[in-house]
Assembly symmetry: C2
Homo-oligomer: 126 residues x 2
DNA sequence: TAAAATTACTTGTTTAATGCAAGTGAATAT
DNA sequence: ATATTCACTTGCATTAAACAAGTAATTTTA
């Protein structure tokens, strides 16, 4: 029988075709969205992510960056002119996560005491 | 010295005062937001959550429901008139998670192939 | 330019979380 | 009264996370 679109199964690493479940398969853990947050706030280097107050272990950071590269949510570029050090940047797909991070920020500020809005994250409001 | 607002530290289970980090402390795992999704879609019973296609283990479901109750994101009510079985409902705080779930849904539908919008989730669009 | 420091990791080990199968007692249905 | 469903709990195997060190390749400093 010929393939039909409706026959297309979800990739094996995906728990269901539900878009919410898919999103959680990609970034549903305690660390990935914090790296995204840092990128939104303008951080670009491994050391910058590692220096964030939550204290992500470097092995976890390394693994998460690999996953984000795989999913084309971030890309690598040279840190500066002629440098061999790398910088990470959000791709368009990565920037499309901004409404999610913004909605999470808004929810916590509205409902969880002791959370504080950071300066420089005005972009997350839209 | 008298207490000042700026002296108030985040609760010990919170990694930082960042609202994004706080949100992840509350529901930053592979399962919690799927339960929220089910609640948004109108499911109310333990067995309904357990029957979702992603196949949440019952011990995990049990633990997650406890946490959601603790955080006052869901509440328990009688499943039906005079019944001793329980139903779960989103509180106002829980319904405030809708924009997050909706943004995740929109992102996956836009960027991840093979995801499918479900009927009955029109409410998540706003 | 040689030495010191930084960067971006990796490796090994401990600890916690997740996943799975099975079991249980109360509630409901037959 | 018996069977079935419901909402869990328990025990165990597997996987992931956390923590501490170490390392090779850069970059900075003396």
């Amino acid at each position: 029988m010929a393939k039909r679109v409706t026959d297309k199964p979800p990739p094996p690493e995906r728990r269901s075709p539900c878009p919410v479940a898919c999103a959680l398969d990609v970034f549903g853990d305690r660390w990935t969205l914090l790296v995204i947050r840092d990128l939104v706030l303008g951080k670009t280097r491994f050391k910058d992510f590692a220096a964030s107050p939550e204290g992500i272990p470097t092995n976890v950071l390394s693994e998460r960056l690999s996953r984000l590269l795989e999913h084309k949510i971030v890309s690598q570029v040279s840190a500066s002119e002629g440098s061999k050090h790398l910088a990470y940047r959000l791709t368009e797909k990565g920037r499309a996560l901004l409404p999610i991070v913004g909605a999470m920020r808004d929810w916590s500020l509205a409902w969880e005491k002791g959370t504080l809005a950071q300066l420089g994250e005005a972009a997350a409001t839209n």
